[in-house]
Subunit: 216 residues, 2 copies
């Protein structure tokens, strides 16, 4: 390991600095994490983004080694960003979230994220997780992982989840239909199936339940 030539060693040390992209819509925590990470000798924060679109754009331009993504962001959320970046630049992503639930973890893992860390953890752990992930390992918060084993799977189909997501802010049937390029009747049918599966009476209740379970 330490037997390389000095030029090799220098080059390796330089190339070993981990280039990190940071995305969180809350400026205070974003800037605080950035400042802390910059104190680490082996980490470069190369981008700070305030939402998912910015994160995707910056990542596809800068090709960071690791993306640290907040889950709760306006527009594209952290998992959606991770899914997209996995396809386009094979980025390794760590998702951070306030509400760490099994469903969220499952969704994150399905999207191919390499790390999953709730905000109830100490900020010092962030750098450690970034290092692990940069080294090719996966890291999942052990507590959440344990919860996730007590399987609470989402009974909704992909299309039903689409409908729920698009209509999560109380959008009209007509609006959802336009957004998804469907007939209004189709949307109503999906909604009907959702209500039946979740055993609730209104769309809003369905949205609240799904959010609580981490399905959307």
């Amino acid at each position: 390991m330490s037997t390389g030539t000095s030029s090799d060693g220098a080059a390796t040390a330089a190339s070993r600095r981990i280039r990190v992209l940071l995305a969180d819509d809350e400026a205070m925590i974003r800037s605080a994490l950035a400042a802390l990470l910059r104190l680490e000798g082996d980490i470069d924060v190369i981008a700070e983004c305030a939402d998912g679109e910015q994160a995707v754009a910056a990542a596809e331009k800068l090709h960071p080694d690791v993306c640290l993504l907040d889950l709760e962001m306006p527009g594209l959320d952290g998992v959606e960003v991770a899914a997209r970046l996995r396809r386009t630049i094979s980025a390794r992503c760590v998702v951070v979230t306030r509400h760490a639930r099994p469903g969220v973890l499952r969704r994150a893992l399905a999207a191919g994220v390499a790390g999953f860390l709730p905000k109830s953890r100490d900020a010092r752990e962030v750098a450690a997780v970034i290092r692990r992930v940069a080294a090719g390992a996966r890291y999942v918060d052990p507590e959440i992982a344990a919860d996730a084993l007590s399987d609470e799977r989402c009974p909704l189909t992909d299309r039903e989840l689409d409908v729920l997501r698009v209509g999560r802010r109380g959008e009209t049937t007509a609006q959802i239909a336009r957004e998804l390029a469907l007939a209004p009747g189709t949307v109503r049918n999906h909604v009907s199936a959702i209500l039946a599966k979740l055993a609730v009476e209104t769309r809003q209740q369905a949205v609240l339940l799904a959010q609580e379970r981490g399905w959307i």
Copy 2:
């Protein structure tokens, strides 16, 4: 000022270090802010608390110069802690919040907080605000203050707010009517008035808007 004896100067310099108590239920942001503040030469973080009760207990024991309190905490929230500490130890408090709305600011000022800072601000501003407040000044985020002046009063009547509150989780018209001992038609009429006044199309949008504005 700078003409004191060297012993005076040293003593003053030592006593001038600002003793700060930190309270936030999210460990990641709490520890991140603590770490950043510790980097400042003139600030001592003397306590880190995860909820309002801990904050009150620690503050009454340690008598910090400034308390930095998150608004959203289980049990006692930041404003309640500030109100209590003002009475017991005349502490100077800064309240930090994710959802900075005029209504919240009004409540905070009424409780006698000395500083008000939304989490949409950069973490570096925190130290600056702490210094100002420790020096006896007040600090209110200018953007929120401006909003608060453009007094956005709730256009809904008491009864309409009742209906909105009872139905905020997507309850059925029939359920709301039963809860409020009204005819279903009356509830629908209130809902209709709410939608018209808030210029939205569905109950769920009305609820989201009202929550965003701090009306329910």
